[in-house]
Amino acid sequence: MIFAGIDIGSNTAKAALIQDRAIIGVRVIPTGYHHLKAGTRVFEDLLDQTGLSRSDIRAIVSTGYGRASIDFADKAMTEILCHGAGAHFLDPDIRGIIDVGGQDSKAIALDDQGQVDNFAMNDKCAAGTGRFLEVMANALEVSLDQMGEVGLTADHPSKISSICTVFAESEVISMIARQEKRENIIAGIHQAAAARVAILAAKIRIQRPVMMTGGVAKNPGMIAALETQLNQALILSPYCQETGAIGAAVLASRLPA
């Protein structure tokens, strides 16, 4: 039996299909303005890609900020539960999850059965989220993809002390004016964002091993900064960005028939 998960995040819409505890396909597209359209699109693309049709799918769970708009899903569940289920599916030993998403970051604690036991999310402030990195990348005129690599070559990371994204941006601009090295500023940005996320992890006393999920898990600079802040190596999966959608599919498989 095949189950689907659809994760409508603020930047990207993701879909995943699982069958007999195996991932048979994933897909990511930009979310754009219309949640339902993005959800339909990403799901249909994935069906095309795998040569399946809707009637092959036994159940669908939607998640993410746009979860409620996906009217063809059997149930909507929160990203927290879905990232928990997804990470546990990818690696059953995982006890902690750091998910840095576009609008918010979360730390999730799993119990020994892989159930979500506790979570903490950033408050309304964007510091420590993907959005924070995006704003900084703009200020530095680098692409988000470049940013991760560039930061790794820093020799002396700059210190960014502002908590607020807006303040941090002006701090970065004055660093640019002082001609501090771009790679050092970028490393400083990663450190600042990672410090905010580490607070969330500390709030719920996250246990090891910790997996990093969400789009930002593709940024090696951010991973390195987080590993320093958390004082441990993070487990990464090739499916980090689709973990929520995979978890949604897992939860779909548990829905009563």
């Binding site: 990203e79 927290i80 506790n118 309304k124």
Partner: protein
């Protein structure tokens, strides 16, 4: 989704209470015409001597709650910020300071005070706030100082606060030009004690399953024990309310249809989102059956002697929930979790109220360690809607309820 069950009948006493509060505010607003004095007083302040001396107590905080519920907080807070007050200041203080100047809010501003009574058992903000208002209205201010009781009530604290009581009465006698009548003071003390006892009884009804009312109702019915404490009106009203709630229990009427999960709320309500929050939790068959806030107006009963009110008042007003140490607060929370049979704790990290929000991380940890129940933290502000993100809070509530359901074995 199954069809939504029909909502339970409304609590009838609500209308009566609205009428009583209207009468009270009309009386306060026309005090000057009737040659009566008005004292503004903090919510945790010792009001009984005022009542005994026939001075009308008015609570800027209760007024602040009304402003929040009427969704007038944003404009008033912004006005105070225009006047130069920081957006980090408690929204009760901001809205009150602005209201005094523009005569805004749902009742066109509070009556001008003849004196101000500020008790710092709730926070330090009130000291500056009342100083500002004393200057603005050019009226005398009495500060009733209650040291924080981190680990208990010592003889030194007792002696110190007792002197405050004496000075307080001397202040009232001087400003009103009248002597306090000890017999009247005793009678008011007895009524205050009785009112608080009945209020506790009201709150206790929600231990019943299903709960006949919720914390959202308690937030509403609270107004009387705050503003009319020490009067026969409060005593009579709460007797009536208890009778109605007991009847609901007999008839099996729960306030949340299909109540399955019972939650405890910590900190002040989010006045501008009461209905929204209540609906969100009800949609998960969850009832917020109790809270740490409304019980603050009866929690110190154990220190009170109804036959010697004035003397025992010192201790009771000093040992209120916000004026004790975090360990003792956590104890209170744990007691409530047991008494009301709670599945989850919802903590409102309130941008306005620092003293209330300060120890929450520790209480959260203690509760999780000792009970294992899930705890949710949401960031908001009781009056200022600009510190509220609906979609973020919605996600957190949904995720929290998923965990609560799982732990209760019903996911």
């Amino acid at each position: 989704m199954s069809d939504t069950p029909s909502p339970p009948p409304k609590i009838m006493a609500a209308k009566k209470m609205r009428d009583l509060m209207t009468t009270y505010y009309l009386e306060a607003l026309s005090a000057a015409q009737n040659h009566r004095q008005v004292a503004w007083i903090t919510s945790g302040g010792p009001v009984e001597p005022l009542v005994a001396m026939d001075i009308i107590p008015v609570y800027p905080e209760n007024h602040g709650a009304m402003i929040g519920s009427a969704k007038m907080g944003e404009d008033l807070c912004a006005k105070a910020e225009d006047m130069g007050y920081s957006g980090d200041l408690c929204a009760y203080a901001r809205s009150d300071i602005a209201c005094a100047v523009v005569k805004g809010g749902p009742i066109g501003g509070l009556p001008k005070p003849d004196m101000l009574i500020c008790c710092n058992n709730i926070c330090g903000t009130v000291l500056k706030w009342y100083e500002i208002q004393a200057r603005y209205f050019q009226v005398p201010l009495f500060i009733f100082d209650t040291p924080v009781c981190h680990t208990g009530y010592t003889p030194e604290i007792a002696a110190y606060v007792k002197t405050q009581v004496n000075e307080y009465i001397a202040f009232l006698e001087q400003v009103s030009g009248k002597k306090m009548d000890p017999a009247r003071m005793n009678a008011v003390g007895k009524l205050s004690y009785e009112g608080q006892r009945l209020w506790q009884q009201v709150l206790n009804t929600t231990a019943h399953k299903p709960s006949p009312m919720s914390a959202f109702d308690a937030f509403f019915f609270l107004a009387l024990i705050v503003t009319l404490r020490g009067t026969q009106i409060a005593v009579d009203f709460y007797k009536e309310l208890i009778a109605e709630l007991e009847q609901r229990i007999k008839d099996g009427i729960g306030v949340v249809p299909d109540e399955t999960y019972r939650l405890l709320w910590d900190n002040l309500p989010v006045w501008h989102r009461l209905k929204w929050l209540s609906d969100r939790f009800s949609a998960h068959q969850a009832c917020l059956v109790a809270d740490t806030y409304t019980s603050a107006w009866c929690g110190a009963l154990k220190y009170m002697d109804e036959n010697n009110f004035l003397d025992s008042m010192a201790e009771a007003y000093t040992r209120i929930y916000l004026n004790i140490g975090v360990d003792e607060m956590a104890e209170e929370v744990l007691k409530m979790i047991r008494f009301y049979d709670i599945h989850g704790l919802v903590m409102h990290s309130n941008r306005s109220c620092k003293p209330y929000s300060f120890g929450q991380m520790d209480i959260m940890r203690i509760v999780r360690e000792k009970t294992g129940i899930p705890v949710l933290m949401i960031e908001a502000d009781m009056v200022d809607p600009r510190s509220f993100s609906e979609s973020q809070i919605e996600t957190r509530i949904d995720a929290f309820m998923e965990i609560v359901k799982h732990k209760a074995g019903r996911s």
